[in-house]
């Protein structure tokens, strides 16, 4: 939904272009010239042109990277996991050649995936190196003063969040400074996983944070993605072995759009809503998610091949939230 607002610079600029909804017509000589100056590409290909480099942020590496923190043992025998998280203003590449002035945790969007076991002590040293007040608001159980809502951390300021990892499940953390929508849309969010004391069955595990970017600040997303970079896992597919259990920790933080979704091709997955229960809630191939909802998905591919996964909102899929699984047969 767009609401009327003051004219921003970009809106002003856009008006010129919209005014150009002028008249279309021809020029055959130019036509030929334009076509010959370019090598021909595959016709009718949806998707972005070019590749986003992986030097600054590698979606492939992020996918399977879990941050267990600096581990020590407290006098009472409890495991302490300490994290250092900094809010940093940083320009990130979200589609080939498209740069977004993001607000990040530790210079990346999404922020690091924090992972602990039920009952661990979590201590997060937060420093705000950005230009606006920020906080970290963790989902889960904690004291009122640890909620990251009423204690804005001013630029240059610090805060220590401390609480026990509880309850078991898949959670998220995000900035709760106001205006809330702006602080989340700019990239201040991440995944927070609390494992049960009895581990889940062995599986190949992945984190997917479903997000989007409003590059022209008109209150709607231009780019959609799983883990920030449009079409990242289409351009560099996620490889997996046939018969191997796959587990996705999927978190939806998409701003502006009311719902998001996940659709898996040629397969069905078990859904563990919020990851809190030991048995699956649902067996499906299409899952709807509101902002802030997160679920654990489990599935196995039995046949090798290339399989697509994407939001079942076609628009989101074609604006970047789409990827491929490449299922391989290790015996071949």
């Amino acid at each position: 939904m767009k609401t009327p607002r003051g004219m921003t610079r970009r809106e002003l600029l856009k008006r010129g272009a919209v005014g150009a909804a002028g008249l279309a017509v021809t020029g055959s000589a130019l036509d030929a010239a334009a076509q010959t100056t370019h090598e021909s590409h595959d016709p009718m290909v949806a998707g972005t042109v070019g590749r986003v480099g992986t030097d600054d942020f590698d979606p492939g590496a992020f996918l399977g990277h879990f941050d267990y923190g600096e581990v020590s043992t407290l006098p009472n025998g409890q495991t302490l996991r300490e994290y250092e998280i900094h809010a940093i203003d940083r320009e990130i590449e979200i589609a080939p050649g498209v740069f977004y002035p993001a607000w990040t945790y530790n210079g990346q969007v999404p922020g690091p995936t924090i992972r602990a076991t039920e009952g661990d002590r979590i201590r997060v040293h937060f420093r705000n190196l950005g230009t606006h007040p920020h906080t970290i608001h963790f989902h889960g159980f904690h004291a009122a003063t640890m909620d990251g809502v009423f204690e804005p951390v001013l630029p240059g300021g610090e805060f220590v969040y401390e609480f026990d990892a509880d309850p078991v499940g898949l959670h998220l953390y995000h900035c709760h400074a106001v205006p809330l929508k702006k602080h989340i849309a700019k990239g201040l969010y991440g995944t927070y996983i609390v494992d049960p004391k009895t581990p889940r069955p062995p599986a190949r595990e992945m984190v997917m944070v479903l997000n989007g970017f409003d590059t022209n600040f008109d209150g709607g997303n231009e780019v959609y993605a799983a883990n920030t970079v449009a079409f990242a896992y289409r351009d560099r597919p996620i490889t997996m072995r046939r018969g191997e259990l796959q587990r996705i920790y999927m978190v939806n933080v998409l701003e502006f759009d009311l719902i998001n979704s996940m659709h898996l091709h040629a397969n069905f997955f078990h859904v563990y809503r919020t990851g809190t229960a030991g048995s699956p809630h649902e067996f499906t191939d299409t899952l709807m998610m509101c902002q802030g909802e997160r679920h654990i998905l489990e599935f196995t591919y039995d046949e090798p091949g290339r399989y697509m996964f994407h939001a079942h909102q076609s628009e989101f899929a074609e604006l970047g939230w789409m990827g491929h699984f490449l299922v391989e047969d290790p015996s071949v």
Partner: protein, 386 residues
């Protein structure tokens, strides 16, 4: 050259030399960087033309902003799409580029294209009704010629047939018809200004659409006055003939602009050009012929001259339809329409003088004539306004 003249030249150019030195200094110093520090680039990209071929969309874009724009991605109907851009993804100020998108567009439907720059700014363009863009060739030349004939040439020729009726009129009634012509022309002139401003809105900012209209209109007014003003002011047959030529020229320029608009709309599939519209244009434009012959009604021009006057006023419609249908450019559309408005304004001044001969300019009869002219154009305009 004498020393004195040399000195004057030097004095005249000295400020320019000083300006050049200062400009060089400013560009070399850090002042420019200092002034814009921290501010993101101001990006502006305007879509000038869209060409649709089966399975492809071609867009010509121009950068009318102060900074270079880098085209990073193209979104068609809310989907990122493959594209190529020539000569370079980075379009410099006042530079142009052509974006070619292989896309299975759907005939008769609307398509929305957003160009995403490297900083995330979007430049949007709406294709209102997707139709294959006409290619210059026998068929389309015939189509646009026919449109021009119906809309411009035939109505003006019919209007000229009022000449015998006007010839015998007494001075009072002749003044009425001259005043009526003034009314027609004022209507056409303001209509041309309106259309020129509309076309100007599609121009990139750097081309200063509104001021292009002002320069085009006042430039045409001044130029015609320099060339023909004195002759048209003569109170004899030759003066009246000059006025008739000027009217024909002014109307011709207006019709050129009208042809441009109709041709472009037709090529876009936006104007159905049904019988209703054709009949409307014929009624609307027939009055133009009346305007041409009114000032020379008391003289006896040869038939050849009448034909030439009619051709000057009507044939540009064909030319306009060709250009509009096959090679539309908002810059030239704006300029032609503005020049037409200026030419018409000049003619109104000239007519005003002819009209006043003998009886005073503003009489109840002439005032009634002007109003009648405006009303005729407005009421027949109801048939063509879209």
């Amino acid at each position: 050259m004498t020393n004195r003249r040399m000195r004057r030249w030097l004095l005249g150019t000295a400020p320019l030399a000083v300006l050049a030195v200062v400009l060089f200094g400013v560009s070399q110093s850090g002042v420019v960087d200092f002034l814009r520090r921290g501010v993101p680039p101001v990006e502006e990209l305007t879509v000038e033309r869209v060409v649709l071929r089966p399975g492809s969309i071609r867009m010509d874009v121009v950068n009318g902003g102060p900074d270079p724009v880098t085209v990073a991605q193209v979104i068609v109907d809310e989907a990122f799409w493959e594209f190529t851009i020539a000569p370079d993804p980075t379009v410099e100020r006042l530079g142009r580029a052509t974006i070619l998108i292989p896309y299975p567009w759907v005939k008769d439907e609307a398509h929305h294209i957003a160009i995403l720059s490297s900083t995330g700014v979007t430049f949007e363009h709406e294709i209102a009704v997707a139709e294959v863009t006409p290619v210059p060739g026998r068929t389309y030349f015939a189509v646009f010629t026919l449109i021009g004939l119906y809309v411009g040439v035939i109505p003006v020729a019919i209007g000229l047939l009022w000449y015998p009726a006007l010839r015998g009129l007494d001075r009072r009634w002749l003044n009425f018809f001259l005043a009526l012509t003034v009314g027609l022309l004022v209507f056409l002139g303001l209509d041309a200004v309106h259309e020129a401003l509309e076309a100007a809105a599609a121009l990139a900012g750097a081309f200063q659409g509104t001021m292009l209209v002002v320069v085009g209109a006042l430039g045409a007014l001044g130029a015609l006055h320099m060339v023909a003003g004195a002759r048209a002011a003569r109170p004899d047959a030759e003066g009246r003939a000059a006025v008739a030529w000027l009217i024909a020229l002014g109307i011709g320029l207006h019709n050129l602009g009208e042809g441009l608009a109709i041709g472009a709309a037709y090529a876009l599939g936006e104007a159905a050009l049904g019988a209703f519209l054709i009949i409307g244009f014929m009624l609307h434009n027939t009055t133009e012929g009346l305007g041409i012959v009114a000032p020379i009604a008391q003289d006896r021009p040869r038939i050849g001259r009448l034909v030439a006057l009619g051709a000057l006023a009507g044939v540009p419609t064909i030319l306009g339809a060709w250009i509009g249908g096959l090679a539309y450019s908002p810059f030239y559309a704006t300029l032609f329409l503005a020049v037409g408005a200026g030419a018409i304004a000049q003619v109104v001044f000239a007519l005003w003088r002819v009209m006043g001969e003998g009886q005073g300019r503003l009489t109840p009869v002439t005032a009634g004539g002007v109003v009648a002219g405006l009303l005729i154009m407005y009421s027949t305009g109801l048939l063509v306004a879209v």
